[in-house]
């Protein structure tokens, strides 16, 4: 099997690695680079636990991406959202709105929300719900996640500050 030397910038840090052709981005992040914040939930792109951001804003499923096709890409995982010890507003909103229970979906979910709010900073409730499809949470019934997204949207717009 062919191996590929690639460079990924993960959470701002440039990482060189060699991956076999069949390595998914998910496994490259978890097994080769130690970013275990990116989770395996189903392996088939349904659950979104493996969601990462490309170029800071585009959400993709790490389980359905071949690492070798991502040479030169900039990847953000949940571990890279906080800046200088300060949580990203989306992360803080998830905490403040009790939107986290078992936490297994949470890294992918917060990244997805960062992406959602980048595309649409003031989404309606329906837009939030549609935008959350593809990130399965089995604990919260999504209610508090929706509230967290609304809260994050307000925070990022500076409402109430």
């Amino acid at each position: 099997m062919k191996k590929h030397a690639i460079t990924l910038t993960v959470n701002g840090e440039e990482r060189d690695l060699v991956v076999p052709s069949n390595r998914t981005l998910l496994d490259a992040l978890r097994e080769d680079l130690g970013y275990t914040d990116t989770k395996y939930g189903c392996g088939t792109g349904e659950c979104g636990a493996c969601t990462v951001l490309v170029d800071g804003t585009t959400s993709i499923n790490g389980c359905l991406t071949l690492a070798a096709t991502m040479d030169g890409a900039s990847i953000t995982t949940a571990a890279g959202l906080a800046q200088d010890g300060n949580l990203h507003p989306v992360q803080q909103a998830f905490i403040d709105n009790d939107a986290i229970q078992c936490g297994y979906c949470t890294p992918g979910m917060v990244l997805k929300v960062v992406s959602l709010l980048d595309e649409n900073p003031t989404p309606t409730e329906n837009e939030i719900r549609s935008g959350l499809e593809g990130s399965i949470c089995r604990c919260t019934g999504y209610t508090k996640i929706v509230e967290a997204v609304q809260d994050a949207s307000n925070r990022m717009a500076g409402v109430g500050e």
Binding site: G41, L87, D98, I100, E133, C137, C139, T140
Partner: protein, 783 residues
């Protein structure tokens, strides 16, 4: 009670910072030096077959393979993966008979996904590729997927000691006539003016916790068996593994990792036996076993499906005179906890309404389905689907309002609870019903939705439920807690209660802070290490806050008692004459006589002699509180859901518009945690009612063990949710709290079914209520 300072507050949960930054370590995230990977070879070709040959040789030659193991290469001891047998007395275990019917690897495949062999290799990829080289041939056996099929006279017997493939029925010893009953049912039906009766089907629902089964085991150089697992029950799994591998408990250690959801799927052992067997084969090397989603689906337990027959009789004035019911569940290939749900399904039924007489029979049949076991609600959702539809049918025939009827006839304080002989000691269901009815505009909407004619028709329905906080007196209830006071006057609690994400470590910490009158930040909960922690049953039966909280409270009271005793000595005052404020113990009425907790704690640890007097300064000895707590009751939570739906009469599609949940939670230690349990429970209850079922083809091959093919309610499907927390403190709960872990799932099931009944005037007897079933029922009604 004085004003509560920490209890009732929405404090930041203990675990969320690590979770939101991705730092929380789940079992699959743990990396150990020299890690090997195990891949279990399973039978996906048949649901029932004998292995006629097993050839491991090609696999053994594969690159990177360390060892290949068949049935004879691991312990031959049979086991029962459930832990229910450890929660009952020796006498009751005797009644259950031999229930150890599972083996690590089998030559008799009894369900799709049964384990045959395994490979240990240097990488996951090497293990997977080698596993594909294992050659197995089978002799196909007849497949029995239902109780009806399994109990046929000529059916192959799963276990000779369980004739008729009847794994369990309520035992004659405790249940005369094999029934959970009171009164004379047959006679009572003679007094009934109205009788309703039907046979329902309840589906095989999957927990779908987001973290698939992931395990690591290491048989280390001290000959100790270590297992990293996100089990809900570390202490019982420790004992089960000790039994299976014939080791003393001191040589088995569970490292309980962060749990990516449980809902019952991690109750007892899942793949701990297989993983530990692999580790025992390569001493000194850790072995990691990671399940695919599909594999997790068929190896961890599901909710019990089955046929559920029920008959109810009422007098014209609405008096419920008799209820007769039978639940035959399709247990699956192994016994697991066949006794549990078979009983509790009837217990919830018996605990709900004041029938003059009631008789329930519960039977578990071996089938060639993957195993069933615990799933949030434990029989209650099945009963809710059936019982609540039957009540609404009765109400329709009686011409009475379903809420008014329920308010009049539900059981309450002083009535026998779900366990006959243990009366309810608190119940605020009337308030729940009143407040939910008001919030949902019940009366107005019931009126409005009469005589609809359009394509889209709306309906509103109600259901109620009773549940439990812990399984006392049916099962052992016991939690041990140590509370260690550090020299800086902070406290570490050491206990084995696990937090599946529901927030129990947060609420336990709140209970500790409140009891001690310390700050929330002064408390740390140490869990996850069975070497250190005392006994705990584990997280099930909505018990962690109620029983674990009781243990925490008692241990913290012990700390407080010791603090006051020492303060009394130091201050030369009577204990009763002291009070604490801001962690300083004062003498009542004396402004200058006081000693700080900090001083007592520090002197307890750093104790020195006064060189001038030769006396000790302060009281020596680190203060440690201790509780070995057995709860006095089971503090039953009650609750109701009112559901509003819209049915498309042309397509049978159902849209859930709104759920109003009102629950008697005793006290909400953390309202956000309680709301989260109700929201999440509702998502699973709606799924059971409308979309979720694992199914098999006629050969027993599972058809939808994936998120592609098994659909749960997603963010756009979830309705508007209103949660009403009714706080009516239970006299036995910590600060009055009751368990809420399961309650939220239950009444949305019956309420949704009843809302559909209200909308279309027809009851659908099989869950999930799919558009296909609705359309067929509508057509049948028009024929």
């Amino acid at each position: 009670m004085t004003e509560l300072k920490v209890v009732g507050k929405r404090v930041e949960r203990v675990d969320v910072r690590a979770k939101v930054t991705g730092g929380a370590l789940y079992a699959a995230d743990v990396q150990l030096a020299g890690m090997l990977y195990g891949k279990i070879v399973r039978c996906y070709d048949y649901a029932h077959a004998r292995v006629t040959s097993l050839d491991l040789s090609e696999a053994a030659k594969c690159k990177g393979v360390i060892k290949v193991l068949g049935p004879k290469d691991v312990t031959q001891k049979e086991y029962n993966a459930s832990v229910l047998d450890m929660m009952v007395s020796a006498d009751m275990r005797g009644v259950l008979g031999d229930i150890d019917d599972q083996s690590i690897f089998t030559d008799h495949v009894k369900h799709y996904g049964d384990a045959i062999a395994a490979v240990i290799a240097i990488s996951e990829e090497a293990a997977e590729r080698a596993a594909e080289k294992i050659k197995v041939t089978y002799e196909e056996l007849p497949v029995y997927m239902t109780a009806e099929a399994a109990k046929q006279a000529d059916a192959l017997q799963f276990r000779p000691e369980k004739p008729g493939n009847l794994a369990f029925q309520l035992p004659e010893m405790a249940f005369p006539d094999n029934a959970y009953a009171w009164g004379e049912v047959d006679k009572s039906f003679d007094e009934a003016d109205i009788i309703v009766e039907d046979t329902f089907y309840v589906p095989k629902q999957k927990q779908c916790q987001m973290e698939p089964g992931s395990y690591i085991a290491l048989y280390d150089d001290q000959e100790r068996l270590n297992c990293w697992t996100s089990t809900q029950m570390p202490k019982l799994v420790q004992k089960k593994l000790a039994n299976l591998f014939e080791l003393p408990m001191t040589r088995v250690r569970i490292n309980a990792t962060v749990i990516g959801g449980g809902f019952g799927a991690r109750l007892g052992m899942v793949l701990e036996p297989e993983t530990c067997a692999l580790a025992m084969a390569v001493p000194g090397r850790p072995v990691k076993v990671l399940s695919t989603r599909e594999e997790d689906w068929v190896t961890s337990p599901s909710r019990h499906p089955g046929k559920y027959w029920m008959k109810m009789g009422f007098k014209k004035d609405g008096t419920p005179v008799a209820c007769d019911a039978k639940f035959e569940n399709y247990k699956g290939a192994y016994y697991v906890d066949a006794s549990g749900t078979a009983f509790t399904t009837g217990a919830w039924l018996g605990g709900m309404y004041k029938f003059d007489s009631l008789r329930y029979r519960g039977e578990s049949y071996y089938t060639n389905q993957s195993i069933c076991g615990a799933f949030r609600g434990y029989g209650n959702p099945q009963t809710n689907f059936v019982m609540e539809q039957m009540i609404d049918r009765g109400c329709a025939e009686l011409g009475v309002d379903p809420i008014e009827w329920r308010k009049k006839w539900h059981k309450g304080v002083g009535d026998d609870g779900w366990c006959i002989g243990v009366p309810y000691n608190s119940c605020a269901l009337d308030e729940c019903l009143d407040r939910a009815a008001e919030a949902a505009n019940w009366t107005e909407k019931r009126e409005k939705y009469k005589n609809q004619t359009g394509t889209k028709r709306r309906g509103i329905g109600v259901a109620v439920m009773n549940h439990t906080s812990g399984a006392m007196p049916m099962l052992l209830e016991h939690t041990v807690c140590d509370a260690l006071l550090h020299q800086d006057a902070t406290v570490t609690l050491n206990l084995a209660c696990s937090d599946m994400g529901q927030g129990s470590h947060t609420t336990l910490r709140q209970v500790a802070a409140e009891t001690l009158d310390f700050a929330y930040e002064d408390i740390h909960i140490a869990t996850g290490n069975t070497d250190a922690a005392g006994f705990d049953i584990g997280a099930h039966a909505s018990r962690t806050l109620y029983v674990g909280g009781g243990a925490v409270k008692q241990a913290c009271e012990d700390v407080r008692r010791q603090l006051f005793e020492r303060a009394a000595l130091e201050l030369e005052e009577d204990v009763d004459n002291l009070y604490m404020e801001d962690k300083i113990i004062h003498v009542k009425g004396s402004s200058n006589k006081s000693i700080s907790v900090q001083t007592i704690a520090d002197q307890g640890v750093n104790n020195f002699m006064n060189p001038e007097t030769g006396e000790l300064i302060g009281q020596p000895g680190q203060i440690q509180g201790y509780a070995s707590f057995f709860p006095p009751h089971n503090a039953p939570p009650f609750g109701t859901t009112i559901a509003e739906v819209e049915v498309d009469m042309e397509t049978g599609e159902v849209k859930v518009l709104e759920l109003v949940n009102a629950h008697d939670v005793g006290r909400a230690i953390h309202p956000g945690v309680v709301e989260g349990q109700l929201d999440g429970g509702a998502q699973q209850g709606l799924g059971m009612a409308l979309t979720e079922e694992t199914y098999y083809d006629d050969k027993g091959i599972c058809q939808n063990n994936s998120f592609t093919d098994y659909k749960m309610f997603g963010p756009s499907d979830m309705p508007k949710m209103t949660n009403i927390l009714v706080e009516n403190p239970d006299p036995t709960g910590p600060f009055g709290a009751k368990g809420v872990g399961e309650a939220g799932l239950v009444p949305p099931v019956g309420a949704t079914a009843n809302a559909i009944f209200n909308a279309i005037g027809i009851q659908i007897l099989e869950a999930p209520i799919t558009p296909e079933k609705i359309l067929k029922a509508l057509e049948d009604a028009n024929d």
